[in-house]
């Protein structure tokens, strides 16, 4: 881990689409060991907040830094390697197999293919490693995303409705992933509509309402 003591530091950040305000004056600090839950109604801006932290959504104003570096000034690709983000929809190539999708990410991280296989095993997909992604069920694709994040071992975990689409066995993956990350001195931000599950996981929770974080 880096020497800095804050992993995420947002200060009065706003996100807009033209005149429409999506997020307004959002401030959030995440320290190592934190597991932050974020709740909010549909369309409140939860996904936007996660993508902002993941350096995927440029802010309209305010100061934001991840791992102590200004995330929109620095060479982002260095800090991006340390972020583990799982969005609403799986970002996999449908024509490749599950293993090939993971192997690409492993390759980009300088990891051998064996790591990709091992990660698939961890999420219970060894048997389907060579199945094309578009021949795999929704839950299998979600599991593959978890395998990707397990494989790269990020310091900052950003999970968007992580429990959805996972079966009873697989929901434990979420806890597993969060615990691992937090134990190694990382942190997690979890967005969810499932308050019970997240409350039991999170060290603190926030609510998004009217574009601001409460």
């Amino acid at each position: 881990m880096s020497g800095s003591t804050t992993l995420v530091d947002l200060e009065k950040v706003s996100v807009r689409a033209g005149a429409v305000r999506i997020l307004e004056d959002v401030s959030l600090t995440v320290h190592p060991g934190d597991a932050v839950g974020v709740f909010g109604a549909n369309g409140a801006g939860k996904t936007t907040l996660l993508r902002l932290i993941a350096t995927l959504q440029p802010p309209a104003g305010g100061r934001c830094s991840v791992f102590g570096a200004d995330m929109y000034a620095a060479d982002r690709f260095d800090i991006r390697r340390r972020i583990g983000y799982i969005g609403h929809t799986p970002g996999l190539y449908p024509e490749l197999t599950l293993l090939e999708n993971l192997a690409f990410v492993a390759d980009a991280h300088g990891l051998p293919e064996s790591e990709a296989r091992r990660a698939l095993e961890l999420v219970g997909l060894s048997g389907a490693a060579d199945r094309r992604t578009d021949h795999s069920s929704h839950g299998m694709q979600r599991r593959t995303e978890f395998a990707r994040v397990l494989m790269t071992g990020p310091d900052l975990l950003l999970l968007d409705e992580p429990h959805s689409a996972l079966d009873a066995d697989a929901v434990d993956l979420v806890d597993e992933l969060v615990h691992r990350t937090v134990e190694r001195g990382g942190a997690a931000v979890l967005v969810s509509h499932d308050r019970d599950r997240v409350n039991s996981l999170a060290t603190r929770t926030h609510e998004i309402k009217d574009g601001t974080l409460l």
Binding site: T55, G110, G153
Partner: protein, 228 residues
């Protein structure tokens, strides 16, 4: 699992992208099974449309070849971007690959596909239009320069407009002007050879354009990603 592996060097990152693109092409067969036959059909249709008068065909053959290569070459080079989903873009961004390496990797993969495309279409042209290729020394150089120029051009144009969905519209407008020097260089170089003149200046023109595009693409890769 393990702590993250060592960040791969620039060349390794380029190869990661090249491998991914070629694997995706192998699985989808888009270039091989859609673009290539379409290009060949275009070459076939021309004689049907303008009449089959042998001298005319022979005269326009090389030109038609270049036009088809340019048009479909652009389609090949922008093929990845147009179909990419937001989730896939996010995933690639978070691999932390250097945008410049991504640019070079994509261009390289497109270049390889374009070489195949050109070779097949070249053969079709020779057969259909009864063209006798001349300048065996220069021809491969011209072909390779055209392929690399187009690959760079398409990749660059796609990355300039990539974020906005409706902006794909602009790709042809961005690509057309810059493909003119390539087209000019390619046709004039071969014309010069045919007339027994030196083609050096045209080859140099193509090389210069290619170099400029490469530099522009590599330098702009990060700023473009920063603002994505």
């Amino acid at each position: 699992m393990t702590d993250a592996g060592a960040t791969p060097g620039f060349f390794a990152q380029v190869m990661t992208i090249v491998r991914r693109d070629l694997l995706r092409e192998r699985r989808s067969g888009e270039v091989l099974w859609v673009t290539l036959p379409f290009g060949a059909i275009a070459l076939l249709l021309v004689p049907l449309a303008i009449g089959t008068d042998a001298p005319t065909l022979q005269r326009i053959g090389p030109g038609m070849f270049w036009v088809i290569v340019m048009l479909f070459g652009v389609l090949i080079a922008i093929r990845q971007t147009s179909a990419e989903t937001q989730a896939q873009r996010d995933m690639v961004a978070l691999t932390g690959l250097d945008p410049a390496a991504i640019f070079v990797g994509r261009s390289t993969a497109s270049f390889l596909l374009l070489v195949v495309f050109q070779t097949v279409l070249g053969a079709v042209t020779i057969v259909l239009y009864n063209v006798t290729p001349t300048g065996w020394a220069v021809l491969p150089v011209v072909l390779l320069l055209a392929a690399s120029g187009l690959a760079l051009l398409g990749t660059l144009a796609a990355s300039i407009v990539s974020t906005g969905r409706s902006a794909t519209a602009l790709v042809p407008l961005l690509v057309a002007p810059l493909s003119v020097p390539l087209l000019l260089g390619a046709t004039q170089a071969l014309e010069a050879i045919r007339l027994g003149r030196s083609s050096l200046v045209w080859v140099l023109l193509m090389a210069t354009v290619g170099l400029l595009l490469a530099v522009a693409g590599i330098l702009s890769a990060r700023p473009l990603q920063e603002t994505a």
